[in-house]
């Protein structure tokens, strides 16, 4: 209910925020998956298993995507500070 104590967020808004955050994570996963597929799966398809090379590529691709995510995030933060 909505009388769960002082200082707590409206439960409907809590649920909406949790839903929004999950959508963001899903969206990031979808984009990352599409791009790493494009950049790492080069042979379509000589085999049904991932090759060693493809597996290593995928690991590094995911790691690099998260680094780009941080770089962009930091840049946007710096820009908004500069504008205040």
């Amino acid at each position: 209910g909505m009388g769960q104590g002082q200082g707590q967020m409206d439960p409907n808004a809590q649920l909406a925020a949790a839903e929004q955050e999950m959508e963001m994570v899903t969206d990031m996963f979808a984009r990352l998956g599409e791009l790493c597929n494009k950049k790492c799966i080069l042979q379509r398809y000589s085999d049904e298993d991932l090759t060693k090379a493809e597996s290593v590529c995928i690991d590094r691709c995911v790691a690099k995507y998260f680094q780009v995510n941080r770089e962009v995030s930091d840049k946007l933060a710096k820009l908004s500070q500069a504008n205040q």
């Binding site: 769960q4 994570v25 690991d59 998260f66």
Partner: protein
């Protein structure tokens, strides 16, 4: 349907939302496999039935892409956990 008392009500709603999301994610993964494997394996329209080469391709495509998704998912979960740890340290 809902137990309308305090915190477990929220938990039930959250649980239901996550179940719906899991179903949606599965359906999306399935649709992605179909469109990707069609795109990668089918370019010959001299026939209206899939040939042996195409069927083999679709099988390999389905399995390979599922394994890729699985590996991406594992690495993603690890990286995401790292990211949330960093944000917690920064007080986000």
């Amino acid at each position: 349907m809902y137990n309308n008392y305090g915190p477990s009500y929220q938990e039930q709603r959250l649980q239901q939302m996550m179940e719906q999301k899991q179903l949606k994610d599965f359906m999306r993964m399935y649709s992605n496999l179909v469109s990707r494997c069609f795109d990668d394996c089918v370019s010959d329209f001299t026939s209206n039935k899939l040939g042996d080469k195409e069927l083999t391709c679709v099988t390999r495509c389905t399995l390979k892409n599922m394994k890729m998704n699985e590996r991406v998912g594992q690495r993603f979960a690890e990286e995401n956990a790292k990211l949330m740890e960093e944000q917690a340290k920064l007080g986000n």
